[in-house]
Symmetry: none
Subunit: 143 residues, 2 copies
DNA sequence: CGGGAGGTGGGGAAAAGTGGGGAAAAATGG
DNA sequence: CCATTTTTCCCCACTTTTCCCCACCTCCCG
């Protein structure tokens, strides 16, 4: 269960520390890839396997499926933590996420999003102004 | 079953004592997150899991689902009590709830709300002036 | 008036985050 | 195919923060 937001530095070699609370759940390996809205995604390996099985089952012909495959797989990178609990963010992914010297790691229960801090603040503002819209969403889900 | 209101100090490290009556029910862990009307919420872990299961099952691709996930999980924090029965209120959550040196913990049966005492007094006043309105609501619900 | 439980403050040990050096591996060119 | 250069990545060490636990105080109840 990944919860909370943590801002960490990206050092000159392109590494970020994984928040200590997240490490146990990523000890079995993780996959890093591009997400939506210009953020990066970190999936624990079990979640990733499940995801890939479902995506690979989609039709070769379906256009959405093709684009989804390209997004998920083409820039994916399997990573392990070093002894200090850090991972490398490959250069192409750093560029894709607009990341320079700071990264915001956001736990979303089953996986993690990685944001450039200023982009994340935009998303948060959006969330606050759209409050009523989400009230409706939650009501539908019975929350 | 959480009942009653308790005002406790927030110390310099951002900790509050959980009212002794509430501790047994939170011994299995709890999740702390932002609530409505600028208060914080404390959920016992089982209640939280039940609440979030539906959200985590939503699509990765759907935009509303993505934003809803961010709203729910990004500022949540799993906490355990120390041996003195206290928990840490992370700084971002203290800010979100307008909490400084005192916190009012309000038991609401299945979960707990945490208020800045002066904001809580406003809510109470609201309750008193709006009494007749709620009479009508309750009648509809058959209470 | 005494005992116990609940609440509060603070010191110290442990862990987390960050920067940098060096060895191994990979890439490049002759 | 070998030598040189470049890159990768692994690990050590320092600094800062976290958090755990001891001790004291206060309030309530007998």
């Amino acid at each position: 269960m990944f919860l909370g937001s943590y801002e960490h530095a990206i050092d000159e070699k392109g590494r970020v520390a994984i928040p200590a609370r997240f490490r146990a759940e990523l000890a079995g390996g993780m996959v890093l890839t591009r997400g939506f809205d210009r953020c990066l995604l970190i999936f624990p390996l079990p979640y990733w396997s499940d995801l890939t099985r479902r995506v690979s089952a989609l039709s070769l012909v379906d256009e959405d499926a093709r684009m989804l495959r390209r997004l998920l797989f083409a820039s994916a990178s399997e990573q392990e933590m070093d002894r200090q609990g850090r991972i490398l963010l490959p250069q192409n992914l750093r560029e894709a996420g607009g990341l320079t010297d700071q990264a915001l790691l956001v736990g979303l229960d089953a996986f993690i999003e990685v944001w450039a801090p200023d982009r994340w603040r935009e998303v948060q503002q959006h969330l606050e102004t759209q409050g009523p819209h989400f009230d409706e969403q939650m009501r539908k889900l019975g929350i």
